[in-house]
């Protein structure tokens, strides 16, 4: 098998040098830098052809792969007898049919100047999610345009997303110049068009090149067909463009603490990847959120202590003082600290099939901090094609919106535009554990900083003591018609007779007053339960035993209420009834209506019920009467430690 010979030039690698003096080659290569970039465009723009060519010209294609490529080109190729580079990276079609998630594929190549990691995102319906993922780690974006078509809707979308994710290095690759006879006027018109759009969304700088990925013009070698073009080749530009790292390094020092390193009692180090700035021994630092001050003693690595460490390095720091510092804390330069807040405005990209539920608590991971966070209804959603702001009640898969969110405790952060590491976050569903959204903090909300908790003198303990009881929430959950209200009433009566102070919160009654503005959509059900949870909490603060009777179909919200209460005070009671049985009883005639389509979002019919996995009390309504159930609950309540 003959070796692969690149089409137009000698490839990127100094093959001569490799053969002649490998030591010199290695010495030169160990100082190479790394550029991570993303290519944006659909298959029609020649994106796969471009990536395929970059791999091919860098000789990363071996003869066995090339043989397969040549065979595939003859069988499936769209370029006649010529090699179809797109087939190198487009093994994706078949996989897509199998339903495999292909949000981003990463490709690797190198030239004599630099190493490259390309994030390749397939351009179909899932595009927003995929591109946001790929762009989150990219230093630069290559936006491909078909010279015959000019600036399209998708060009605007790609540029907006790249800019949103903080990519400040943009390359506009006007591709398929061979199909417009390498016409300068066509190229100039597209660039002018694009410039007008770019300025409108705040892109101040981009580099435009006329190329043909298929023919190789201006990709690795300057083309004889575009004598009017005076700029670099695409590869030439990628090899020399400045990498944003230097900017991060010039900023103030920040390091989120990942892990506390304690091999023995004499050593206590804080390990992390430096998110910004530089640090050296004796520098004063501040630990956040505590605000305590110390000094760096050593920068410890296996290769010996360092005199200085900079953004992008993974290190272990020791401090001169024995102060509290653990995972989730941020070590910062002492005099320029990041912000601390628990309420933010953020841009959110929704990535899950299940839409966002305003008010539902999600896990939020930012840096090494993991907190519980709720998102409010979006202020607006962005139409990624027109960039218009639209009104929205929720965010669905691939939607981008701006919303306020609040966390259950203050976190250390910086606006995303100042720091990707301290401003970018993900949201995680607490039940499915899926990553459901990516977010970028815009700024903190002042009201979060100015609202302080008002201490009261007569607290919950005093209230409970006076009543001679331990407060609790008996949370009855189950399908409509299971008998929750009946049982709750009986429990309330029995406890009352025993001189216990109780209060019964009933689903239907609450909806007549406190929650009468709410309907039965998933989002409204979440808010309904959140309010009931808050009311129940106030009542336990007053020392009461609260009994609630709500369908409360979602595990996540029951868990949210559980987390609002003091440990041990939330007692989940599953009033369990088979759906068929509940439907047969149909005391209120609701199942009949729901089946007839007169009632939407009815639990069990067209809205799910997530049964508790491990309730404190399980009532099998097919095996006991309401009276027996009430006795069981009272017994369990009074018998608890």
């Amino acid at each position: 098998m003959a070796r692969a010979v690149p089409a137009l030039d000698g490839g990127y690698r100094a093959q001569d040098l490799v053969a002649r003096d490998i030591d010199a080659y290695l010495a030169a290569h160990q100082h190479q830098s790394l550029l991570r970039f993303i290519t944006c465009g659909s298959v029609d723009d020649g994106k796969s052809t471009l990536i395929g060519r970059l791999l091919y010209d860098s000789k990363l294609i071996f003869t066995d792969q090339l043989a397969a490529l040549e065979a595939d080109s003859r069988r499936f190729g769209t370029q006649g007898q010529e090699i179809d580079f797109a087939l190198l990276v487009d093994g994706l079609a078949a996989e897509r049919e199998q339903g495999i998630t292909i949000d981003v594929a990463y490709r690797f190549f190198a030239t004599d100047q630099r190493k490259f990691i390309v994030a390749d995102t397939p351009g179909h319906e899932q595009y927003t999610r995929n591109m946001v993922t790929g762009a989150s780690t990219a230093d630069l974006a290559v936006i491909l345009i078909d010279a015959r078509k000019g600036v399209l809707t998708q060009t605007r979308r790609h540029s907006y997303l790249a800019h949103l994710l903080g990519i400040r290095k943009l390359v506009l690759a006007v591709n398929k110049m061979d199909l417009v006879s390498y016409d300068q006027a066509t190229f100039d018109a597209i660039v002018a068009d694009y410039r007008a759009f770019a300025i409108s969304i705040g892109i101040t700088d981009f580099t435009a090149l006329p190329i043909s990925a298929f023919k190789g013009d201006n990709v690795t070698a300057l083309s004889p067909h575009t004598p009017w073009y005076g700029g670099p080749t695409l590869i030439g530009h990628l090899e020399t463009v400045e990498i944003d790292q230097a900017a991060g390094r010039a900023g103030p020092f920040r390091m989120p603490v990942q892990w506390v390193n304690r091999p023995n009692l004499d050593f206590r180090g804080f390990s992390g990847l430096i998110a910004g700035g530089a640090i050296k021994p004796a520098d004063p630092v501040r630990i956040l959120p505590s605000g305590k001050i110390s000094q760096v003693a050593r920068i410890v690595t296996l290769d010996g202590d360092l005199d200085v460490a900079v953004a992008g390095q993974s290190v272990t720091l020791t401090l001169t003082d024995e102060i509290d510092c653990s995972r989730g804390d941020v070590i910062s330069v002492a005099n320029a600290r990041p912000q601390i807040a628990d309420q933010f405005e953020a841009t959110i990209v929704w990535m899950a099939d299940e839409p966002m539920l305003p008010g539902r608590p999600y896990w939020m991971k930012l840096g090494t901090q993991l907190v519980s966070a709720t998102v409010q209804a979006p202020k607006y959603q962005v139409n990624v094609n027109t960039l218009e702001h639209l009104a929205a009640k929720t965010l669905e898969l691939n939607a981008i919106g701006v919303a306020n969110l609040s966390t259950d405790r203050p976190i250390v952060f910086e606006p995303y535009q100042d720091s990707r590491d301290l401003g970018g976050f993900i949201l995680i569903d607490k039940v499915s554990n899926a990553t459901v959204a990516a977010g970028m903090i815009r700024f903190s909300l002042r009201r979060g900083q100015n609202l302080h908790w008002q201490p009261v003198d007569v607290g919950r303990e005093q209230q409970a003591q006076l009543k001679n009881q331990k407060p609790a929430v008996l949370w009855l959950t189950g399908l409509s018609g299971a008998g929750k209200s009946t049982i709750a009433n009986l429990v309330s009566k029995k406890l009352h007779r025993m001189n216990r102070h109780t209060f019964l919160l009933d689903g239907d009654n609450v909806r007549h007053g406190l929650n009468r503005d709410l309907g039965f959509t998933d989002a409204d059900r979440v808010e309904n339960i959140r309010r009931v949870g808050e009311v129940a909490r106030l009542m336990t603060d007053a020392g009461l035993i609260v009994i609630t009777a709500f369908i409360s179909p979602f595990a996540a919200e029951r868990r949210m209420v559980r987390e609002m209460m003091a440990p041990g005070e939330f007692i989940e009671v599953h009033v369990d009834i088979p759906l068929a049985e509940a439907e047969a009883r149909d005391v209120k005639g609701l199942y009949k209506k729901a089946r007839a389509g007169q009632l939407a979002n009815f639990t069990g019919i067209d809205s799910p019920y997530e049964a508790p996995a491990a309730p404190e009390i399980h009532i099998d309504t097919t095996k006991m009467t309401a009276e027996e159930a009430a006795d069981l609950i009272v017994e369990a309540l009074l018998g608890r430690a």
């Binding site: 990691i117 410890v300 200085v308």
Partner: protein, 330 residues
């Protein structure tokens, strides 16, 4: 060009930078050379390992004794220095590895101070499964089943593996954190997006995570790093005269007396080396004179066939990697 025995964490200019006064620093920082690609890859891998240790209950490092494992172990020692990496090494042994691999394995475990767990599938042992008689069943039982057994037996909820995305098409799409169901199946339809440096490690109690800290390394990166860091690797990666036979186009090394010679077959000494290491009767060698890391890199850069060509497992069922992974192969 001065010799550079170690991957120096700081370019020279950074040293000067540390002596500057504060106002000059931000100006100077912009002029300092960016981190090299190996420094960035190293920092990323270390960050990944620390996340796993901080957020999972019982991590383990899969140690196959190959060059990627060697790099991964080296990075683990860096990540947790001066502590010993806070997890054991697990070698899923098939009893058919090269002798030189067992020697290096035991030496590295001793040097690192880490606990070494060697697991051999008792079922495969009892049934006498071997590469000569059982073909792909050999890999299936010793490696895939053996791995699942070991993970279950010790209750590991996260396992580091040395796979790289550049190895093979189906790897290019796999996440750094790859989730497995309670029965170790990979669900490629349900992968989590990985943004920035944020890894979601939340999982249901019986699920486990395979973590690939070398995802973004290429074969050349691995070799270059081994060279710069002087990482010990199995001598079989370097060319030497070894007893060989040629079968089905593969050059096989006769590593011990268990190798079944066919009628008329006699081992012939050839100068060979290995580009990947596995069970010796299944691993093809290449004829080579490359006896040092630079020479190996030189040969690799000038060579024309991809790395996995030497592995019989891939030939057995083409495009089968995806399938194997779904079944629990690492």
């Amino acid at each position: 060009m001065a010799k550079s025995p170690h991957l120096v964490f700081m370019p020279d200019r950074l040293l000067e930078y540390s002596r500057l006064s504060r106002p000059d620093r931000s100006r100077a920082a912009k002029q300092v050379a960016p981190l090299t690609h190996l420094q960035r890859l190293e920092a990323e891998s270390i960050h990944i390992m620390r996340e796993v240790v901080a957020e999972t209950q019982r991590p383990v490092m899969l140690y196959s004794v190959g060059k990627d494992s060697a790099v991964m172990l080296h990075l683990a020692r860096k990540a947790f220095f001066p502590s010993v990496p806070p997890f054991p090494l697990l070698h899923v042994d098939t009893t058919w590895k090269f002798k030189a691999m067992y020697e290096l394995r035991d030496k590295m475990a001793k040097d690192s101070g880490m606990q070494l767990i060697v697991h051999q599938n008792p079922d495969a042992k009892a049934r006498g499964i071997n590469p000569f008689d059982h073909g792909s069943l050999h890999t299936d039982l010793w490696k895939t089943e053996g791995l699942k057994q070991a993970l279950d037996q010790y209750g590991f909820d996260a396992a580091f593996g040395g796979a790289r995305r550049d190895e093979e098409k189906s790897r290019a799409k796999e996440r750094i954190f790859s989730f497995r169901s309670a029965n170790h199946r990979w669900d490629p339809k349900n992968q989590r997006p990985e943004l920035w440096r944020l890894y979601n490690t939340k999982k249901a109690p019986a699920e486990s995570i395979r973590v690939f800290p070398l995802s973004n390394w290429t074969e050349l990166d691995v070799w270059q790093y081994i060279h710069l860091e002087k990482i010990p690797i199995v001598p079989l990666y370097f060319a030497a005269e070894r007893p060989t036979v040629v079968r089905d186009g593969l050059i096989l090394m006769v590593d011990d007396e268990r190798f079944r010679l066919k009628d008329g077959e006699t081992p012939v000494p050839r100068s060979i080396r290995f580009r990947t290491l596995g069970c010796y009767p299944l691993t093809g060698a290449v004829e080579s004179q490359a006896a040092s890391v630079p020479q190996v890199i030189q040969e690799m850069l000038l060579t024309t066939t991809s790395e996995r060509q030497g592995r019989a497992i891939d030939h057995d069922q083409t495009a089968s990697m995806e399938k194997k992974k779904q079944e629990g192969y690492f």
